[in-house]
Structure formats: structure tokens, C-alpha cells
């Protein structure tokens, strides 16, 4: 019997509600399918061929850029677009520009972010009828030509892999060249300025960095910018004592003292090491079966935005650690893996918190860093009352500068009633330690705007 099943049984003995049991069983089943079934319980995006109207002369005859190549020239444009958008809000219309589709902290560890301002032109359009809520999708019919009997399968296309260009997942966008590239720092600036994310309070200086300021701190004998009178007098006295012109007894006549040119001590402009605060961010993500699809997208995109914001706040002095968890937690090396890895296992939030605590303790991070922990989950937890998670969370609260928990609901529990949310609220920690612990709950259909709104809630 595998450990997950054991866990399930031990939990069952402690008593589970029907609802909880249903969720756990679902995840167990997914685990058995080794992640392959991850899609089986969510509406499927069917693959689409290009439509009738996507064929054009230009593309076919001239090999010209397809119509979606668009002129995005500079960040200025983006700024002015965002200005316009802010103006819209003042005029009483909802924002229209989405800063969606970005985040490309790449496989190579660079923090490339691709900012693509995009928008939707809303009109009255006919929609398809969305009835396929369960996994057995029957896609829309398309045209075809060639051999084959009716009913014969003529080809297949795997579901898992590829993410279309419309996805907000990681991976370089299709028409990479014409997209606007900037780094996380710029994105952070945009977020801070345009979306009015709050600035960070200075949390005290800690670890030294290779960054210098210039100050009149060094002393120099003979020449310099400002005479250090006290030090000069002390020097003069030393000289005169050595010459035995001054003795311990009797009054000293200042006029009798001999002054050597080298006795003058000056303050001189010099390079100084500066001390700045530095952040260590733990991104923790639940990658259990129930997370697949929209909740993962939401969490990942929110975490990139948070990372960008922190990168701006800490002048790029942000170090990140990525932790994934199902029933067990593990650390992964880069964002790429963090964003893309999927497994289907059960869910135990405590495991992740425990790992974070252990890392912090072992590496003594508390001393040198402002520590942030952002945790994204769909709110399921087999540890339904938080019996294990809460003590770990309390420990974490002792050192963390901020813990932000995002619950992206997967849409098959009852909204606002996920286990994590429930035990967090019941624990009272949210009120007690409000300055350190924040919770943001969004449903799975949230858009970019909502994600940014959520960040405000987590970090303000």
C-alpha cells in the first residue's frame, strides 16, 4: 500500500465528511493515473485548426507576417497605453488593457519578462454552447478531405503538452521577436506605478552588497576636504608628548605646541559599502491533481507578478526559492520547473510549510533576509482541520516579513468553503497576525485584473 493510501486511511479513521472524502478519492484516482488523468476532470480545450477566415493571400503567396504581427515598439508606448487606461478608470469606464501573457523567467534562470499589452474588443458575438463540463469532449466538426471510411480514426493529437499562444503559462511566446521584452524589474515598476501597488516599508538594513556610496568617512593626514578638529588636536598632543613639550603636570599653553604638517587630520571623500535590505522569497505551490488547469495558471501568474514587484522594491536584490507540494514537498531549482511541473497527488499543505521552516532554520536565513512566503493552492487539504499546517504556519510567522496565501478555487467545492480557507479563518491568525499573514481567495475564472487586485491584498 502506498503512503498516500495509508494517509487516507489514517485520516479516515479520524473522520471525514462526505465532501472531503470525495475530493480525496478523486485525487487518489488521479494519482493512480500518474498525472495523465489530470485533465480528465476539467473542461477540455479542444485543439483548433485555423478557421476559414485565417487563410489569406499574404500569408500563402508572399510568406508575409501573419496578421497577428503587431507594432509594439517601445516601453513608452506601454506607459502611455497604461496612462490611458488609468484615465479610463477616472472617466468611469473599466480598464481595458491587460498586461497579461508575460512572465518568462526562462529555463536558463534569466528573469526575462515579456510584456504584451493586449485587449479584447467586446461585441455581441455568437458563442458556442458550453455543455461539455465533464471530460468526454466532442469537439466541433471541421472540414476534411481524402481517404477513410465513416467512423475511421484518421489521426490524433496529444492533449497534454502544448500550450497555445493564448496561454499565460511559461514558454516563449510564438512571435517572440515582436513582443516587448523587459525584465522583471521593469514589470515591477509598471505594477508599482500603474497599478498602484504599495511601496515597501524599509525593514532595516542587513546584509552587505557590492554597492557603494561616497561619504566623508575616511581620515587622511596632511590633506583632505574637511579638517577633523578633534582628531587633529589629539594628533598634535601626541606629537608634543613625544617631543616632551607637554607633561602630565601643569597647564598646557596651547601657543607653545609644535604643529607638524602631518598632524592635520582631514576627512576625505571615500567609497563606502552600503547596506541594503534583501529579500528571500519562497514561492510555494500546490501541484496536486486538483490544481491542474486554471488554478495553476492563476497562481503562477500571480507569483510572477509578485516576484516582479519585489524585484523592483528590492532593486533586484531578491532571491527566490521554489517549492512544490502535494502530499510531500520538494524544492525545485528554477521558475520554469516551478511553473510547469505537474503531478497528480494528494494535498498536504503542512508538508510545504514544514519544508520552508526547515530551509530557513538550516541555512539561517532569518538573520540575513527579509523572508516572504507566498503560497498558492486551490484550498484542498487532506489535513482538513489544519492540525499539522497551523503549527507550522505559526512557526513561520515568527520570522516571515509577510506570508501571502492565495486560494484559487478549482470550482468543484463550494466557493468560500475550502479546507485551507476554513481552518485559517477558524484559527484566528488572520486577524491576530494581520500585519504578517494575508489571504486572498479568487474563483477559477478570475482575470488578470483580479490577480493584480489579489496581489494588493497580499502585500499591502
Amino acid at each position: 500500500m502506498n503512503p498516500m493510501q495509508k494517509l487516507y486511511i489514517s485520516l479516515k479513521q479520524k473522520g471525514l465528511t462526505v465532501e472531503q472524502e470525495r475530493v480525496i478519492e478523486l485525487e487518489l484516482r488521479l494519482a493512480e493515473e500518474q498525472g495523465e488523468g489530470a485533465h480528465a476532470h476539467r473542461p477540455l480545450e479542444e485543439p483548433r485548426d485555423r478557421g476559414l477566415y485565417a487563410w489569406s493571400d499574404l500569408q500563402l503567396q508572399l510568406d508575409a507576417s501573419p496578421p497577428h504581427a503587431l507594432p509594439l515598439s517601445s516601453l513608452n508606448t506601454l506607459d502611455s497605453l497604461l496612462d490611458r487606461d488609468r484615465q479610463r478608470e477616472e472617466d468611469g469606464f473599466p480598464r481595458k488593457i491587460r498586461i497579461g501573457r508575460m512572465m518568462k523567467p526562462g529555463r536558463d534562470g534569466g528573469d526575462k519578462v515579456v510584456v504584451v499589452p493586449s485587449t479584447v474588443e467586446e461585441k455581441f458575438f455568437h458563442d458556442r454552447i458550453k455543455i461539455q463540463e465533464e471530460g468526454d469532449g466532442e469537439g466541433e466538426a471541421e472540414g476534411g478531405a481524402g481517404e477513410g471510411e465513416e467512423g475511421e480514426v484518421i489521426g490524433e493529437q496529444p492533449v497534454r503538452e502544448e500550450k497555445g499562444p493564448g496561454d499565460s503559462g511559461a514558454g516563449q511566446g510564438e512571435g517572440g521577436s515582436h513582443e516587448l521584452e523587459s525584465n522583471a524589474y521593469d514589470l515591477g515598476r509598471i505594477l508599482t506605478e500603474q497599478f498602484k501597488l504599495p511601496n515597501l516599508k524599509d525593514k532595516g538594513k542587513k546584509r552587505s552588497l557590492t554597492r557603494y556610496t561616497y561619504d566623508l568617512t575616511d581620515k587622511n593626514r596632511g590633506f583632505g576636504q574637511i579638517l577633523d578638529k578633534k582628531a587633529t588636536l589629539r594628533r598634535i598632543l601626541q606629537t608634543n608628548i613625544a617631543l616632551q613639550r607637554v607633561s602630565g603636570r601643569g597647564r598646557i599653553n596651547a601657543l607653545d605646541l609644535v604643529i607638524s604638517p602631518r598632524d592635520r587630520v582631514y576627512r576625505i571623500l571615500s567609497r563606502e559599502k552600503d547596506y541594503e535590505s534583501q529579500a528571500m522569497v519562497f514561492f510555494v505551490r500546490d501541484y496536486s491533481g486538483s490544481m491542474s488547469g486554471k488554478p495553476t495558471d492563476l497562481v503562477v501568474s500571480q507569483h510572477v507578478l509578485i516576484y516582479s514587484w519585489l524585484a523592483f522594491q528590492y532593486q533586484n536584490q531578491v532571491r527566490t526559492r521554489f517549492i512544490l507540494h502535494d502530499t510531500e514537498a520538494k524544492e525545485v531549482v528554477n521558475f520554469h520547473t516551478y511553473a510547469n511541473l505537474r503531478v497528480a497527488g494528494g494535498t498536504q499543505v503542512a508538508s510545504a510549510y514544514r519544508l520552508v521552516n526547515r530551509i530557513v532554520e538550516k541555512e539561517n536565513l532569518e538573520r540575513d533576509y527579509n523572508i516572504y512566503v507566498f503560497h498558492g493552492t486551490d484550498g484542498d487539504d487532506w489535513d482538513t482541520k489544519g492540525e499539522e499546517a497551523l503549527p507550522e504556519l505559526r512557526r513561520m510567522l515568527r520570522y516571515a516579513a509577510r506570508i501571502g496565501i492565495t486560494i484559487a478555487e478549482n470550482g468543484y467545492g463550494i466557493s468560500g468553503k475550502t479546507e485551507v480557507e476554513r481552518y485559517l479563518r477558524n484559527s484566528g491568525l488572520l486577524d491576530e497576525r494581520n500585519e504578517l499573514l494575508r489571504l486572498d481567495v479568487m474563483d477559477k475564472d478570475s482575470n488578470e485584473g483580479r490577480v493584480i487586485e489579489g496581489i494588493k491584498r497580499l502585500i499591502s
Binding site: A40, L62, K123, F125, R128, G155
Partner: protein, 546 residues
């Protein structure tokens, strides 16, 4: 952007001669430009019209969230635009033979633009010049009104797919009020049908009219109308009365309705918005026929570039290179719908059919397969027939009239289905049907079809939109923003009636069946909903009964 070289232009003039000889008709002048990729970047968001007005949305990527919304405005990207003179675009390093091929294709498009009746309303003016003056107007307004110009553009564009295109076309074809045609129309369409039990009389009158046509030919209309007048002395005065009566608005043209009736837009300080809206409306009307004739237009152009290129004596020796490019354009994809390939094959098929006299009652009556196959009247009317088709059809008619089982069998077409295979975690494509009806339905289903929304205003000054139910819901996420824009332009409350699918509750019995088959049986019913936008707040409530 620069003009094509004289060398290439000379070749193209040669193409024009050959195309004319083959029967295409188009105006003498045309403009050809060389475009670089950079030019393309600037042109494509402007739908290839270099003089189109500026609008910030052109600077951002417009998300097309689901394939279906590509339907608008995907079409207008062409190498050739329907202007006077027509403008077409070329790469600067094209070899001559390729330019010849493209130019024949372009000539096919130009011929189509200038002869297909669905473009009737674009024949009287030059769109590029109009667009240029519009662009200047927008620039001027923007300097005065600032960002509000962009709001008006945005909100007008939100309904620019509801512009009453067919009404515009119908108005162009209206018969002369004084002529006998209009009177005959009135007599048969209105006068005779006023009382309910008129069928026998109607048939009698039709017969009378037909006999007169046979007897007099030329003066039949007049003679018939004289007889009507003598039998119904009141006819003339009723006819005059009906002409004077104001026609009720047909109500599909939301943009025009707003311009005519919105109290907000008729405030003195808001009148400038009307010119912006009318610009959006005319731009949209300009593109309407293009998007409704994609298959025909591309099919026609492909048909001709193939015919004319292969007959052109100047480009011998490049047949293989040509074949490669041509195959890319006009081969039937294994799965997917290529309008070039489908349209071209249909034209070929129809020409052949008409040539053999198969488009006739006699042929349709034959049941015997062998006789059908060898049916050949050698009419010599194939070309004539396809020219008539290019003049009088739009995609929907083209597809629903001419795709038949013979055509589907000839090209081994099928409807490809997709289904999700849980075990293999793949989407499987399979041959769903080889029946012509299904294929027709599939093509028809992928054609551009904006919702029909009737517009009116009630006594309390609320704008009432009534989405006519055609078995499809509206995209719900877009309703709020669209209505907010409309509210701004209307200056008051807006209501929208629309139908949405609601899952029908499964009974216990069905649930059991579901359990057994492991595939949930889902049924939907339709329910009418009322959306109300007031004070930029949207509310939604079910309408009890229609």
C-alpha cells in the same frame, strides 16, 4: 511603400489584356506597391488600408479568445483592397513568374469586387480617399475633444457588426417609385394579400399577368396595370398612400438607430460624435461583403490564376515552381477548411456541370446512376454559368446551393469529427460523415454570422435590444462592456433580451443511466434573460415567459 517597378508593371499590363480576353472585367487603372515587412506591421492592424484612421487598439494585441471570434475581422487581410483604383501589395524580391501568378489572382479579386452585387454599395466611391478624409477628421476631433473621441470610436465599434448591411443593399436595389415595377410589386405583395382568403384570386391574377406577358411582351406591364385600375379604382390612391407612409425602421441596424434617435447624441455639444459613428458604420459596411464572400472570392481568384497562368506564354519554364506555390494555396487540407481550395473546386465543378447541361430539371429527374454519369448536352454554357454565380452569390448561398453529394464524392470530402480519448489522452480525428448535407451544414456553420439584434426604444426612453434567437447564445463576458458603451451613446437605460442555455435538471432515472454509461447525458434548455444596464451597472434576470 513604393510603387512597383516599370518592368513589373509592364508585365502586369500584359496580364490584364489576357484576363480581359478570358472574360474578366475590371477598370483600367490599378496601383501596385512594394511592401516590406515593416510596412506590413503598420498595415495589418489597419486592415491593409494605408489611410485608415488611427486608434489605440491598433497598437495592442487584440486577443481572440476563442477561434470563433476570429470571424471578425479576420477576412480583410488581402493582397488587394477594393478601392478605386484597386491597390495590391507585393514583396520586393518576387521573381517575375510569381508576380504574374499573384497578379492573376489579384485580377480575379478585382473582377469579383467590381462585379459581385454584394459589393454594390462600394462601387460609387473610393474607400482610400474616404478613409483619408475620415482620418483627418478624427485627428482634428482628437485635438479638440481628446480621449473622448477614442471612447466614441470604441463604443461604436462595439456594435459595428450590427449595421444592417442587407438593408443597405436592399435600398440600392429599390425599383423606381413611378415605374410599373414598383406598382406591380405593390399589387402582388401588398394589395392582393390584404384580406386573408386571397390565394385563389392571387393565383388567378398571376395567371392573367403571365398570359399578358406572352401576348404583349413589351407593353404587358402597362396593359396589366390598366386592367387592374379598371377593376380596382381605389388601387392608385392606395398605392400613393403607401408610398407616402414612412417605412418603419427595420431595426437591425443598431448603429444607425442610435445616430437617428439617441437624445444624448443630439445635444448640441455631442453632435460631433455622430460623424465618428457614421465613419465607423461606413467602414464596417465596406468590409461586410468581403467577409461574406471569402470562399467565393478566393475560389474565383484561384480559379483564374490557375487558368490564366498556365495559358500565359511568357512564363514558360516556371511551371514546377508555380506548382509548388499553387499547391500550398489550393490543396485540400486533410483536416481543415481552405476557402481557396473549396471555392476553386466548386467553380470547376459548376463549370463542368453547366457545360454538360447538368444544372437543369431534366438532369435532376434522372434517377439512374449510369445515365447521370454520361449525361452531356454540350451546352457550351459553363463559363457563362460561373460568371453568373460570381455576380450573384455570397458564401452562404454558394455553399447551400451548390455543394451536393456528387461534389462531396468527387473530392472525397468529409466532415471531420474530434473526440477526446481518455485512455490515450489525445484528441482523435475521425471521419464523421461523408454526407453532403452534413458537409454543407459544417461549412455554413463556420461562416461569419453576426447575431441579429432588433433595436427599438420604449416610452420611458429605454433602448430595447432584442436578440433574435437562432440557437446560439451571446458571448456572456462581452455583454457588459458592450452595453456600457451603448449606454453612453444612448444616454440612458439599455435593455437586452437574449436566450441562454440552461442545463436541464436530470431526473433520478437519467442519473442512473449516466452512472451506467459513465458518460453524463447533458441536455440543455433555453431560457430568455433580460440584461439591464443602468448607471453603468449591469443586472441580469430571467424573463418569465416570452
Amino acid at each position: 511603400m513604393e510603387l512597383l517597378s516599370q518592368h513589373a508593371k509592364k508585365i502586369m499590363e500584359g496580364c490584364k489584356e489576357r484576363a480581359r480576353e478570358a472574360g474578366l472585367s475590371f477598370q483600367d487603372e490599378s496601383l501596385e506597391y512594394i511592401v516590406t515587412n515593416r510596412d506590413m506591421l503598420q498595415l495589418s492592424p489597419k486592415l491593409m488600408i494605408p489611410t485608415l484612421y488611427d486608434y489605440w487598439v491598433q497598437d495592442v494585441e487584440v486577443l481572440k479568445e476563442q477561434g470563433r471570434y476570429e470571424l471578425y475581422p479576420g477576412n480583410p487581410y488581402e493582397t488587394v483592397i477594393n478601392t478605386r483604383p484597386p491597390i495590391s501589395y507585393y514583396n520586393d524580391n518576387n521573381p517575375d513568374w510569381l508576380n504574374v501568378m499573384i497578379f492573376y489572382h489579384v485580377l480575379g479579386h478585382i473582377d469579383f469586387f467590381q462585379n459581385n452585387i454584394f459589393f454594390r454599395h462600394t462601387w460609387d466611391y473610393d474607400f482610400t480617399s474616404r478613409a483619408l478624409s475620415d482620418k483627418r477628421m478624427i485627428a482634428k476631433l482628437r485635438s479638440e475633444k481628446g480621449r473622448w473621441v477614442d471612447y466614441v470610436i470604441e463604443f461604436s465599434k462595439a456594435v459595428d457588426n450590427l449595421v444592417g448591411y442587407f438593408d443597405v443593399l436592399a435600398d440600392l436595389e429599390k425599383p423606381d417609385a413611378k415605374g410599373p415595377e414598383a406598382m406591380l410589386d405593390y399589387y402582388f405583395d401588398v394589395f392582393l394579400q390584404q384580406d386573408g382568403h386571397a390565394i385563389t384570386r392571387y393565383v388567378r391574377e398571376i395567371e392573367l399577368y403571365n398570359t399578358m406577358l406572352h401576348q404583349h411582351e413589351a407593353g404587358a406591364d402597362k396593359a396589366f396595370l390598366d386592367s387592374v385600375r379598371s377593376r380596382h379604382p381605389e388601387f392608385e390612391s392606395l398605392y400613393d398612400k403607401s408610398r407616402r407612409e414612412k417605412k418603419p425602421a427595420r431595426g437591425g441596424d443598431v448603429l444607425q438607430f442610435l445616430m437617428d434617435n439617441s437624445p444624448f447624441l443630439h445635444h448640441e455639444e455631442n453632435r460631433w460624435m455622430l460623424s465618428v459613428m457614421s465613419m465607423i458604420r461606413s467602414t464596417s459596411l465596406y468590409f461586410q461583403p468581403q467577409i461574406r464572400t471569402k470562399i467565393l472570392n478566393e475560389g474565383w481568384a484561384s480559379y483564374w490564376h490557375e487558368k490564366l497562368f498556365l495559358e500565359d506564354d511568357r512564363i514558360g519554364g516556371h511551371e514546377v515552381e508555380y506548382a509548388i506555390v499553387n499547391a500550398k494555396v489550393t490543396s485540400m487540407p486533410r483536416v481543415g477548411l481552405n476557402p481557396y481550395a473549396l471555392g476553386m473546386r466548386l467553380f470547376d465543378y459548376l463549370e463542368d456541370k453547366a457545360e454538360k447541361g447538368k444544372i437543369s430539371y431534366d438532369y435532376d429527374r434522372i434517377g439512374d446512376k449510369n445515365t447521370r454519369r454520361h449525361f452531356d448536352r454540350k451546352t457550351g454554357k459553363g463559363r457563362e454559368f460561373i460568371f453568373a454565380v460570381r455576380e450573384n452569390s455570397a458564401d452562404s448561398m454558394f455553399v447551400s446551393t451548390f455543394i451536393d453529394q456528387d461534389f462531396v464524392d468527387l473530392h472525397r470530402l468529409f466532415v471531420a469529427g474530434k473526440r477526446f480519448n481518455k485512455e490515450r489522452m489525445t484528441w482523435q480525428y475521425y471521419v464523421k460523415s461523408r454526407r453532403a448535407e452534413d458537409y454543407r451544414e459544417m461549412v455554413a456553420d463556420s461562416l461569419y454570422h453576426p447575431p441579429l439584434i432588433k433595436v427599438s426604444a420604449d416610452d420611458k426612453g429605454t433602448l430595447v435590444l432584442n436578440h433574435v434567437f437562432e440557437g446560439k447564445p451571446l458571448v456572456r463576458e462581452y455583454i457588459e462592456a458592450t452595453m456600457m458603451g451603448l449606454e453612453f451613446l444612448w444616454g440612458g437605460r439599455i435593455c437586452l433580451y437574449t436566450s441562454e442555455p440552461v442545463p436541464v435538471k436530470t431526473t433520478a432515472e437519467q442519473e442512473e443511466a449516466t452512472m451506467k454509461s459513465e458518460r453524463p447525458i447533458r441536455e440543455i434548455g433555453w431560457k430568455r434573460f433580460l440584461y439591464t444596464m443602468s448607471g453603468r451597472k449591469l443586472s441580469r434576470e430571467p424573463v418569465s415567459e416570452m
